[in-house]
Amino acid sequence: MTHHSTSASRRTFLKASAVGGGLLLSFRLAPLGSAEANTPDAAINAFIRISPDNIVTIAAKNPEIGQGIKTSLPMIIADELDVDWKNVRVEMANFDPDRFGVQSAGGSTSIPRNWDMLRRVGAAGRQMLVATAAKTLRVPESELTTNSGVVTHAASGRAVTYGQIASAAAKMPVPDLKAVALKDPKDFKVIGHSAKDVDGPKIVTGQPLYGIDVAVPGMLYATFEKCPVWRGEVARANLDDVRTMPGVRNAFVVKGTIPEGEMTLSGGISGGVAIVADTWYQALAARRKLRVEWTTGPHASQSSKGYAAQAAALAKQKPVMSIRKDGDVEAAFKGAAKIVEASYSYPFLAHACMEPMNSTARFQDGKMEVWSPTQNPGNGRALIAKTMGIAEKDITINMVRAGGGFGRRSSADPIIEAAWIAREAGAPVKVLWTREDDIRHDCYRPGGFHTFKAGIDAQGKLIALTDHFVSFGNDGKYAPLANMGASVFPADFVPNLEFGASLIPLGTPTGPLRAPGSNALAFVFQSFLDEVAHASGQDPLAFHLNLLAERRVQAAAPQGQPGAPTPPSFNFERMRAAVHLVAEKAGWGKRTLPAGTALGLAYYFSHQGYVAHVAEVTAAKKGENGIGQVKVNKIWVAADVGAHIVNPSGAINQVQGATLDGIGNLLAQEITIANGGVVEGNFDTFPLLRMNQAPPVEVHFIKSGNNPTGLGEPALPPTLPAVANAIFAATGVRVRDVPLNKVSKGGAAV
């Protein structure tokens, strides 16, 4: 076994910039020294190690939260390195953005951000191996080919394995990433071929893998009771009673550090009572004896009922803020052949990751080490530094596989709690939340209210549209993720259009939930457009293909407060193609369906993905305006996320999961605020979708000639309106308020 050199040349960090597509490669490709990495393998670069027997270890740089990135990112490297996937072992990277670039999971960004970069990382490794083989075999590099981890000189019939020359290759200069030769995509052998999740064997045999499974020598367990109301503080607590409970090592009050006005979970630590015990169950049992008197601020008077009343009042007035204005809506309404008006609403939602929030921390000799199932380790490190006065260089964050993320684990609250409590307890501590903690102390998907008006001309064309969006926020600023962009479809496709917003003051943190913004906006816009389609006397498919036929306003003209980032150049032809395909696959207009069964269509562009859904639903009308039992029989999906699906198996799984997630949102999920706190607490009151409610989801990808984009999110948004539109087609009842069990103003049950 050879140790690779740690000479100065190997320590020359590569900093490439502005490669091919203008991407910035702001990371160093230098490997860890073998001593640091604690392995005899040769480290070709930060991502790649090769053993003498040709086993390739590839670092997975981004957090794995169930989106499959720990499998798919290494696949990209393996393909360009030209090794067989079966000889690849994957290892979670350290959190070290200097070495690995951006390391976070969110916004379906991992694939688009890393596609080009990781191809180059793999190709650079291959180039070093080829150069080494040329030296070893004394032939020009141009006469060498690679395949399956072997470099071959065809002319002389000689070959060397990567493993044989890896330690020599590790000493070669690191090539310029901008200049490395990439494969012709038609030669991909790993990308585009289904690979199984690299952690699959551990998952099915129950090996320790998740944040909740982390064990550190001498570790204690903690539970942390926070005020039901945001930024509330402990006034009094019966700590002495708690301390006498079996196994309890420590119980103490934490004074909150979250600044006033902060509405995210990454601004400080909440006030509360920490109980540290030998086992988590002992901490929990002691917590049942805990009695806390809280000091709550003004937020304690907030309630969902109050929000609804304020929304109703605001909706009657003109929007306070303008989001966008095109043409002259008033004139267009006057000249319209038909006017359609409707109001929609959707609730706050929790993330409810299957693995409740947790983190483990150890504070020793002034250094903090954390193990966390996090989506954003950098956020956690920054919050520890800010809140606890520890320098970032003295903070290590270990990324551990997460039992779901959905945006929740971008927040740093479990990390700061573990770090704080571990330092205070003087021992390594795992902080684990109960399910109730998890549901009641979330950063929620904000609820919202929309009042629409549309004008249709005599030819059935949508000529005018207004939306008054009543959202949440304080001091004229949207609450986190409660904004609406100026380019929400059909903006640009309707000549006269106005979007405006008014805000209800909010005392509950909000944040990103899978397909943030889009998960709600798709429901209201695609449902209302379905109303317009029906009012225009057209089949919804024909109406939408018409609407998607031409851009009628050239450039988005955002006004007022900036909304969500404008989606990069919505390409309506890609959207049309997805709508076409899904309609064809679902047999739209071609199948005779039994009475009470109907199809609904919806589509949405989000996270750079173009996704269209058709839902087949069986539903019955109940009473005057309600619906009875709803059964979603099947959903068809057509998605265009670019030319390459890195891992088809994982991609289909994501699309099915996101689609079914949308059904879960639609059926019965709702977070209710009362007295400033969250009412729901567990899966009985915040129900997740179950097996008997999950229809088959048939997935089709359109491989358009575009760079690949992410898939964790864009398949969710069209689900709700597709199902709601199908319910309308089946029953004549329009779902304007979700969850569905609210439609029962006429007495419905779901």
Partner: protein
């Protein structure tokens, strides 16, 4: 209090409060981390284990009620013929997303196949509805159960 229980064929004596749920004895005392905590209230199935051949939610099973029953967890279910078939089918169809619920799903699915060797869709609905998958891998869970039971399955990718 001391309790003696048999887990995966090995006898253990643990000293815990009698109300301690089996789940926390398995996870934090016996260091078997495979059974997962999802809700603590019998609502999600993530903590499913077999006690004397019956699938139970270990989060709501006090240790005092376990007595000298035989407990089988995800760590040892692969030693049974059906358990192994189920695990293999889960891998073959790449069922997991985050994977957190899957230990419980596999324990429930194994029990289903022990009782109903060729389950129909309705059998699967009835038996598996207590196991939540937040990632909603339900299409693949259903297919994997059928694959493990020798019924035809169309592979998607």
């Amino acid at each position: 209090m001391a309790f003696t229980l048999t887990v995966n064929g090995t006898s253990h004596t643990v000293d815990v409060d009698e109300a301690t749920p089996l789940l926390w004895v398995l996870r934090d005392v016996l260091d078997l981390k495979g059974s997962k905590y999802g809700c603590g209230s019998g609502l999600c199935g993530a903590c499913t284990v077999h006690v004397n051949g019956v699938a139970v939610r270990s989060c709501v099973t006090p240790i005092a009620s376990v007595g000298d029953s035989k407990v089988t967890t995800i760590e040892a279910i692969g030693a049974t013929e059906i358990g192994k078939k189920v695990q293999d089918a889960w891998i073959e169809l790449d069922v997991a997303q985050c994977g957190y619920c899957q230990a419980g799903q596999i324990m429930s699915a194994t029990k289903l196949l022990e009782q109903t060797p060729k389950p129909t869709d309705a059998d699967i609905d009835a038996h598996m509805t207590g196991n939540i998958c937040r990632c909603a891998t339900y299409n693949r869970i259903r297919a994997a159960i059928k694959l493990a039971s020798g019924q035809p399955v169309v592979k998607e990718a």
